[in-house]
Amino acid sequence: MEFTVKELAEVIGAQVEGDAQIRVAGCASLASATPADLVYVDSAKNLDAAARSRAACAIVGPDLHLAGKTLLRSKNPRLAFAKAIGHLMPDESIAQGIHPTAVIAPTAKLAEGAGIGPYAVIEENVEICAGTQIGAHCFVGRRTRIGAGCRIYPRVTIYAGVSVGANVIVHSGAVIGSDGFGFVPTPSGYEKFPQRGGVIVGDNVEIGANTTIDRGALDNTRIGRGVKLDNLVQIAHNNDVGENTVIAAQAGLAGSSAIGKNVVIGGQVGISDHCNIGDGAILVSQSGVAAGKVIRPGAMMFGSPVRPMDKAVEIIMQMGRLPELAKRVRRLEQAANLE
């Protein structure tokens, strides 16, 4: 698709400075852009690269000066650029129409415009809403409901009795609604504790490749509206993840934790069971949170076990000086003849 700068400015809410009639056909990085591509600059340190870029039009932040190009001035250039990309280069389709090899139960309700790819399996009483695309090899279990406008990439598995909101994106290999890890020890070994709850995924959630979300044991596992999960994340049974929280790759949550809204969880973080993470808290990558721990809203935490960031940093610094500390103790002992 091709737009004039003027048209784009309206879509993304930016002010034009320069030739508003230039036509833009794509988006690219500063280094790889052609004259027809749109680029963005959100920091003064990228201005040199921007000046060298072949792009004729750039989205720039409020106080940046860039000569020789048409500028789209925006308060948040990265966000404006993301919107522009969505407009210039709409998502490619995952599945259009119903592929003849898809296996769809007669009792499944498919809204108009839903796309189902080759060899996808849609079981009894499933409901799939308007505009949702389900890729090849996906499996959607009985009674599961998937809202409108979702993009389910190939080979996603959604177990029975799961509820997925609207505009949700799920990447390949993700598994939603698998049995939680619940067992009761007996003298002859572990007996399975039945996992009869469900999973409720809110609107605008994104779930990364090979991420797994277990169903609740009795109640539901919940993923709030706008939550973003990276690849290879594990969400165990009965967790409740609040709105707009982001969780980076390989992080894992054991069961029954309550994660607040707008929380940021770094990569490879481990959160044990029954924790309570306050709204807006930040858990830095590779942190470990012990079972039952309560983290204050807005706190920035690091380490295993987690501590407030400044304390964790101080401990790390002192750790590096442990051999020296030991020497100082030894000298004191010698001075005091305490050997």
Binding site: C27, A28, S29, A31, S32, N76, R78, L79, F81, A82, I85, G86, M89, E92, H99, T101, P118, Y119, G135, A136, H137, Y153, P154, R155, I169, H171, S172, G173, N204, E206, G208, A209, N210, G226, K228, D230, N231, L232, E243, N244, V246, A248, A249, Q250, G267, Q268, S285, Q286, S304, I316, M319, G320, L322, P323, L325, A326, V329, E333, A336, L338
Partner: protein, 343 residues
Amino acid sequence: MLRTAGELAEHTGARLEGDASLRITGCATPESAGPGDLIYIDSPKHLKSAIGSKAACVVVGDDLELGGKLNGKTILRVKNPKLAYARAAGWMFPSRAIVRGVHSTAVVSKTARIGKDVAIGAYAVIEDDVEVGANTQIGGHCYVGQSVRIGSDCKLYPRVTLYPEAHLGSRVVVHSGAVIGSEGFGFVLGEGGYERFPQLGTIEIGDDVEIGANTTIDRGALGPTRIDRGVKLDNLVHIGHNCEIGQNTTISAQTGLAGSSIIGKNSIIGGQVGIGGHCRLEDGSILGSRAGVLPGKILRGGVPMWGVPAQPLDDYKEINAWYNRLPELAERLRKLEAAANSK
């Protein structure tokens, strides 16, 4: 396939001491070997197990002093016994085909260009404009997205997913459940929550790369994500968008790389390592298992690094030794304080 000791010596460039006509029927560990099996030892401490083994033929290093202890066995002398053994085993037992021919249930787009002797398994889906090189095998339930390019002699085990436009070189092996070219984790905070930052970049996988089961490699946001020739990735590894992994680097299971990091050639990265965004590891970097590298860090090659945050192994060992003795150190301080107070 049955070979004689003489044939194996010729194939691996080994010097034969003993019976060249000895028939070798299999490969095994020294403990489980029968008389027809080939075994190897690459260290003097394994000599004892070779002496006790039923195997009649042993691959040993050029410089290993046997002192007559393996008399009666046929010996294949080489510089690198493990490598020679791997080549001998690969020659005797070529790896099995994942699939032969194109299965009748495979859905292959009419616009896909499929090379000579390509095999495609049951229920695999090959989308429009895909290009597959000669002799490549694509297992059952694999999904190959639009405009993907795969070189020759590749092996995709069942249930691998390639997103649109991914490029794979030749002789690439991908294990089941791996996802290549998925959209990276990029969002911009807007007024009502996070908005997706479109992931329009590419993904380039070089020749001779091996990718483990359920490993995920995201496509670039704008530029490419690159996995260079000869890189080996274990299971459950995560490679974020716009990372570049240099030739012949190995990464063990459950390690994760956030976005835009550059890893040099011939690096060795252990299991469960975490590497923050925008790091640069020089050629020959070594990272011990469970190490953590802070975002933006530059690591020198050739120095083994350990711990969180990653530090030179020697420093780490010293610190760790004192860490174990922290209770003792605290007790000694307490005594010093008591002594000071009693004065």
